[in-house]
Symmetry: D2
Subunit: 258 residues, 4 copies
């Protein structure tokens, strides 16, 4: 269930690996969305809503909803992830997504003497940079220890901790908000760390709701065109190709395997 992202370079000491685990999700997410959509457009009661809905009808309804972009029914299903091995650079960006819920490991209450840290690939791949980075992290560790030894409370000692410090978060998004998150954060212009996390989250939800998320990904992948204008990454065709490839591998899978 837990994904380890092999990053292609030797892990330096203190490098902590990103893990994304799908903890909970609404049971039968695609059937749930289809039920809500069906209620809007047919004279059907609450009791029949579930019983008289075949798998074929679910597939057809979901495809229609997704292609027309009528997204409100997607809000009825939500996904809860546990994430660890991410930096506070990432978490500070993450919590800017306001249509979501977060619980984050507190540096106010949890002691950080043995913190882990995230080293960016651009630094890990450069020996001098990597050494400079690691040495600073050890100096931070010593300063944190000394401050707490001098009686400074944890909530103030944490002021010396780096952006790179590892943190853990439990997060819940509904499917509509997730699609928006993916459109922004799976984009090649997104910051690399949050993009890595977004890609892992997308892989997890595709396993349990393949139809809902079949077009999910960067904005270009979802809508067929890049909204970044002159800021475009220029890799539009590769992004589309990648999605089609991912899709093909999945094509024998069935809906709602939960």
């Amino acid at each position: 269930m837990i994904k380890r992202k092999e990053n292609g370079w030797p892990l330096p000491a203190g490098f902590y690996m990103l893990k994304v685990k799908l903890l909970r999700y609404t049971q039968q997410p695609e059937r749930t969305v289809a039920m809500a959509a069906r209620l809007c457009y047919s004279p059907v009661g609450a009791e029949e809503l579930e019983e008289k809905l075949s798998d074929e009808q679910v597939t057809k309804l979901i495809n229609k909803i997704v292609s027309l972009g009528h997204m409100s029914t997607l809000e009825h299903v939500s996904f809860t992830f546990a994430v660890e091995g991410v930096s506070r650079v990432l978490s500070h960006q993450l919590v800017r997504h306001r249509i979501a819920s977060y619980s984050q490991q507190s540096q106010r209450y949890v002691a950080e003497h043995d913190f882990q840290y995230i080293m960016p690939p651009s630094i890990a791949q450069n020996e001098a940079a990597s050494r400079c980075f690691s040495e600073l992290m050890e100096k931070v560790r010593q300063s944190y220890a000394e401050l707490t030894r001098l009686g400074v409370p944890k909530e103030d000692a944490r002021y010396v901790l780096a952006n790179a410090t590892e943190t853990k978060v439990v997060l819940t998004f509904n499917a509509r908000s997730l699609l928006n998150f993916f459109s922004l954060r799976c984009c090649l212009r997104a910051q690399w760390e949050i993009r890595q996390m977004a890609d892992l989250m997308l892989a997890e939800v595709k396993k349990v709701a393949p139809l809902l998320f079949k077009n999910a990904g960067a904005a270009c992948v979802q809508t067929g065109r890049c909204p970044e204008g002159e800021m475009t990454c220029g890799h539009f065709s590769e992004m589309i190709k990648k999605r089609l490839k991912d899709g093909k591998e999945k094509k024998d899978e069935k809906t709602d395997k939960a």
Copy 2:
């Protein structure tokens, strides 16, 4: 699963009964909340989060969260209801709760020749009022039929439909937003129809998350005091007594019976 509320008076023709069905909810809701809370305050990883949490710990954590009012972890669990037999008076109030998701049967797309309607108890209990009300509903039905016969589209013919017209809604709230909803809508000062629905919703969620919702209800019941000031209903002690009684009947039930 479906609740029928006996209202204590003979149902007139066209009176439609409120039904509330809990369609979906986050699996093991109390354990989910406890896991999120635990992550905030302990140096524990995503993988261990679930495994090392006994039922006793869950109970203890939930009780602490609820008593301290630290509600953000409650957002990780959500509840989806199908509701029918409610008026558009109710649905117009309902959708004012913005931290929630709705799918409502559309009067724009679904024909309403055979609409049902909700008659308020104050009218049903008065013979003259009840007759006046029913006669008007039949006149509305005729006008709707005539307008559509004259070629008026459904989306315009619906302008003649009454507030009393029955509607159906699928709605999803997270537990925190639900507690707020109950505090406002289970209050004796709330409008009777939405209060009836809120009471049925509360009864449903208490079955699957008794600890989370053990203090849930009108603001007075949740917090131990009435916030309505000079507008108070004056029934504070009865409300509290009712909750204690409900609680006693539930006391042998276990957590997270899903």
Copy 3:
């Protein structure tokens, strides 16, 4: 300040005209957005933020923000409208927009003996339909009066009131949420009444923030393509032409005339 929409047909008795009045808005809305955008990307302090920003810089920044679709800075400015002469069909749709604030005239507290009503054009233009509609409204008025005379409280008598009943709303949207509202509700596929209101709201905000809203309107107008797929209205080129024409008439106006 108040717009009267001439609808091109004789107003039947009881027909009430839509009015939209811009009550309040953030002072110098475009400068405000530019200040926020500037803070993100330059090493500039809070004190200098306002002083060192020329009108040319504001124009350049706003054009960049709007063309790149980096919308978060638009949230710092908000617009408050008073609306009257709209039906409860409209208000029920309106309050589904959750990133906004509403205060609506209460049918629970305000007596409706002398209610006004909104008659759809498709009905007003057909003599038989119009007569049928008006007669029903009078029957509703009589029933409401009789019910209250019989002692039924206002909050229950309102169950007989029609969807067509006139209501009044004060609403506040920030600029980002407004753009989303316009993209959905200025669309020719939107219901006619809310589209009429959206068009008037757009005309009002264009007067005080012409740059911010220069591309605002239906999704096709804002983004240059229709998202409705097979449901498209087919009037894409006319919509674009209309916007260009509106723009030309405005081109001598200055920014932030507040």
Copy 4:
């Protein structure tokens, strides 16, 4: 307009002072709220809404709204602040308030070679701790410079920056969300830095909307009782006394001085 908080200890090098500036707010905020409230409960049109409302009526309406806790009308007025001299410890907490809008100086785009930092009082007051802290900040500065010299992009070099690093934010809250913010963040149990900022924000809004915010502050001050249970700070009576004193100094001021 800008507040400097004298903290009572000598400012060490690199210590940066918190500034809060109220950049924009809805004109005549109290009158605006009163207009919205009046619309809900009286048969009054949009045009008359403003004209026929005396200052005495505004005062009376606002007092009633605030005392009854009917807060939805407060959402029509919003307040935009520029804040500088705060740490990223603070900003990470701040942006957890989701009913608000933020623009923050980007460490991805703005170079941080000359960063300022916030030193917690508990460290500044202890000579050994203060030296340890300052030395680390210089080491961070050197590491950041070296990494960028080695070709590491700014967006990765920032991983070494400390939580203490100074940041700047433009933030917008509506009055209802502000009251909730104050109830949590003016509390003596809140973290000291965000409490300091919340206190300054409260002082600013009290100048322009004294009636709306006359009871604003920590939850105990707003509601007359502490919700923290066994976690209470135990300073309830001092908090209340402080508010009463603040109120007395303000009592000759008039409403809506904008």
